[in-house]
Symmetry: C2
Subunit: 130 residues, 2 copies
DNA sequence: CAGCATCCGAGGCGATACTG
DNA sequence: CAGTATCGCCTCGGATGCTG
């Protein structure tokens, strides 16, 4: 299978049983908050409350939990500076830096196509009205 | 900002207030099931129960709901053949065909790096044990 | 500042039963 | 086959209050 000059032939199908891991890991990335945190860290390290403001709508609880998850999976490092007041910086790892490319690809796509999606949605909703 | 030969400078930041739409649409894609359905439709049209088997673990309810959402946003077409028994085929649109590239980019990344993530996770969990 | 602990409410989601 | 409708659980996640 070749699409847009990219060859997907023989690519693992997340539905296949031996790909449980791929499926599981894709779930990690595709959750509501992880994606945004990764995006917000793309320009360098950020502190906890900076991220809280960056990722609009996230609660402290979910920020903590999501950061722990990302840290656990080696996608984010957590650095504590034992100053007063304490300071903690989160940063992408080498691993997640390479993840940024496909992720930003998604963002670019969404930004380029959000108008089309808006139109499609409007059309769909109008039809429902009848 | 240039990363992996891709220039992200001036890219919309989902945190900016004028990008509510981008954020909203990214949420559509980043939900638990949409991604998998899109992936499963990458090789051509599929019927309802085929998809149900493809996307392991999805309930009939969530398949229906997710497909409706994708249809509403112009990412999937629904074609009914009024035969007996009825037959319904779901297929990607031109729009979502272009989405496949970044999505599969993500899948490729996950598949190439799942081992590293597994190692990182193991390390993290071992540390917690102490 | 950067969290952890606890409580608790909405709703996501599965299970089941029924239709064209 | 391809759904819709209803019920109810249970988890996700927000709100609040407390610590180093």
């Amino acid at each position: 299978m070749v699409l847009n000059n990219i060859d997907f032939t023989g690519l693992p199908d997340p539905s296949e049983s031996n790909c449980q891991t791929t499926r599981e890991i894709l779930d990690l990335i595709a959750d509501k908050w992880s994606l945004y945190i990764i995006i917000m860290l793309r320009n360098g390290p950020r502190r906890f409350n900076q991220l809280r403001r960056d990722v609009e709508g996230i609660s402290q609880r979910m920020l903590t939990l999501t950061l722990r998850g990302l840290e656990r999976n080696g996608l984010v490092t957590r650095t504590m500076y034992p100053t007063i007041p304490p300071r903690v910086e989160y940063e992408l790892t080498k691993l997640s830096a390479t993840l940024l490319t496909p992720v930003m690809g998604l963002v670019v796509w969404v930004d380029s196509n959000k108008d089309k999606i808006g139109v499609a949605r409007q059309l769909y909703d109008d039809r429902e009205m009848e």
